[in-house]
């Protein structure tokens, strides 16, 4: 093959991908950026589309509930990434051990991925509101669990944790698969050598498994970052943004993540152009964060 030359086959093979990409992502994306600079409503507009400059952007960053959603999304993303990766790595370690039913376990841990996000939110809402207060074991050990004030979805902080739990439950099986793959690709000889040296399992984990799987972390952290930042389905159906909170002197939904804020701006607040502006800001932040994250990880990989 001709390295460094773009022969017809290059373009021919690439063409379907580029066409689909242009049609579905790039053109609508550019249109979206364009709309964010106008007073677009996606409703009949007698005056036609007006160019408004950066008005939508300025109004967005002046809106406390947008700022709140931004902050909340950062917090959520941080906790969620941490939890998913710890759980996923832990599970991967367990199911790569010599276990009798490891294939069943793997399938089981992956199973939540097969439930759609909206439905998954309903299931967990059902569990938090109805199952947990009625759980015989829990309510005898810790009766306060059934008190209304202690319901997971009744308080802002615990409701955020509820989204984290449901989100992690869904996604950690997927990330686990990547870790399994990484762990299985560590050469067996390394462990053999460590065994001869009499290294403890913990030492083996710290000095062999983690360094040797470091490159998996780049991709898992990237995937969980993007996934957490874009969280929408579970947010909508599990909490709907509630309960409320106070921020900068304003009352607002306490568990409304960015994607939901953008969605509500588009539909309840009747300002589609502003929701486009918010998603452009969202995009810029996401790009910056993922670039930093991937770069940091690549550096770490080399150090390790």
């Amino acid at each position: 093959m001709n390295k460094g030359k773009h022969d017809p086959i290059f373009w021919l093979f690439l063409a379907p991908a580029i066409i689909a990409f242009l049609m579905v992502i790039i053109i609508p994306f550019l249109m979206g950026i364009f709309y964010s600079l106008t007073d677009w409503t996606s409703r009949p507009q007698p005056g036609g589309l007006q160019f408004v400059g950066l008005k939508n952007f300025i109004e967005s960053i002046q809106d406390p509930s947008f700022l709140y959603s931004f902050l909340l999304t950062f917090v959520y993303t941080f906790i969620n990434m941490l939890l998913i990766n710890i759980v996923a790595f832990g599970l991967a370690l367990l199911v790569t051990a010599k276990l009798k039913f490891k294939n069943i376990y793997r399938a089981g841990f992956f199973l939540p991925n097969l439930v759609g996000g909206l439905i998954l939110g309903y299931i967990w809402q059902f569990i938090f509101n109805i199952v947990i207060p009625n759980l015989p074991v829990l309510s005898t050990i810790y009766p306060a669990i059934a008190e209304p004030a202690n319901l997971m979805l009744a308080n802002r902080n615990s409701a955020v944790m509820a989204i984290v739990i449901a989100g992690s439950w869904q996604y950690s099986g997927y990330i686990m698969m990547i870790y399994i793959a990484a762990i299985l690709s560590v050469p067996e000889e390394l462990f053999e050598a460590a065994k001869i040296d009499g290294a403890s399992p913990f030492k083996k984990l710290l000095h062999i498994t983690i360094p040797m799987t470091a490159q998996a972390f780049t991709i898992t952290l990237f995937l969980t970052l993007v996934q957490s930042f874009k969280q929408f389905d579970v947010n909508v159906s599990l909490t709907g943004g509630g309960p409320s909170t106070q921020f900068m002197g304003k009352f607002m939904r306490g568990t409304e993540l960015l994607a939901l804020d953008i969605y509500n701006t588009a539909f309840t607040s009747n300002s589609l152009a502003q929701s486009q502006a918010r998603s452009v800001l969202f995009f810029v932040v996401l790009v910056v964060i993922s670039l930093i994250q991937v770069r940091q990880n690549k550096r770490k990989e080399i150090e390790l």
Binding site: P46, L151, G240, S244, T268
Partner: protein, 422 residues
Amino acid sequence: MKKILVVLVLLTALVGTAFAGGNQEGVKDSGVRPTLELLQNKPEIDAALKTYAKAWGEANGVDVVIKTVGGSVDVTVDQMLTVGYAAGDLPDVFVFPGVDDYKKWSEVILDVSDQKWVKDTAVEFVYDGKVYGFPVAVEGWGMAYNAEILKAAGVDPASLVNLSAYKAAFEKMDSMKAELGLDSVVSMAASISMSWVTAHHNFNSLLSNGLPYGDLSVVNGLLAGKVDMDRLEQYAEWVGLLFKYADQAVLTTGDYDAQVGAFASGKAVFLHQGNWADGNIEGAGATFKRAFAPHGSMNAATDGIFVAAPAYYAINKDSKVIDFAKQFLNDLVYTDDGHNYMVKEAGMIPAYSTVKLSPTSPLSQSVQKWAADGKVYSWSQYYFSEDFRNNTLGPIYNQFAGGNINETQFVAALKGAFEGLK
């Protein structure tokens, strides 16, 4: 490898037929039978409406397509219209709840002032002197009560007319909870997803309770940022009372099911919902006597409940089947089949004087009785934008319900919200 090839060929063949079929199906029928598409938001009447529309369509040579959206987290009619507008695919008839939504879609809503049914209803949607909306039904809410438990507790429903009467009744029954088999006195919901109960329905007590029907003095005052503190404080006390005597789990995390379920199973005496809950209450197997009492949001006695058309059908001005759409609506008002569908099948209270049938469910009958006596107050919440109700008011009620702010702070927060409207 061969197997894969065979599969591939089969799939390609399938894809061809699927695409061909898909394209034909996707485009609206251009052929013989026209299509009339109606978008509505009442899941509870969906089945009845579809059956009626099918029969009507058969008789008139139209395919009537009914699309139903609704519910707490599903898409709303407005979202469907927004997406539909982007797609260039608006329904021929669609439902809208009131003035705020009318303004969003006024460009495509047909003026129907010349229609026959206008003179046979009192609750059509009027804007600037012209009629734009066909009232779907009449609905009402007040405090729905379980007459049997009230009787056992020795409380006369006729006495429930103001704050002090409700306060006394709530206190009394709260002390008898064990004896009456109650979890709580009131079944109320105030989670963010239930903002339609607090920031829409309950909010209306502040706007129209005790005022002549159609009186907008309070509404206009608030929209101009002028707050009647005395009225607001009394209202806040009412909200506080409802929240205090509600089941806290239902109040802060419950959905519609949980709220109505508590009332239907006799675990609560009062339900803060309207006559639409009847079907669900019956569905849960309840047979007890029930009716509406007025809201007690004021010190002065108020003698009436909130009754109005909950939504209106609008005809799309650009529709290709405007005549069919007009006829469809007219036939609801002037044919026996139409009456039968509205009242018997869908269980709605008719908005038209031509309809002689009456619904059989107790709460609907109670609404009709209040309306027949002329003891009704307006629905004025739709003068405030959905944004304001959901995004500004909803969280304030939720904070109060969760105990994060007290009554004084609640009043201050509402005052601040109204002053921000200027």
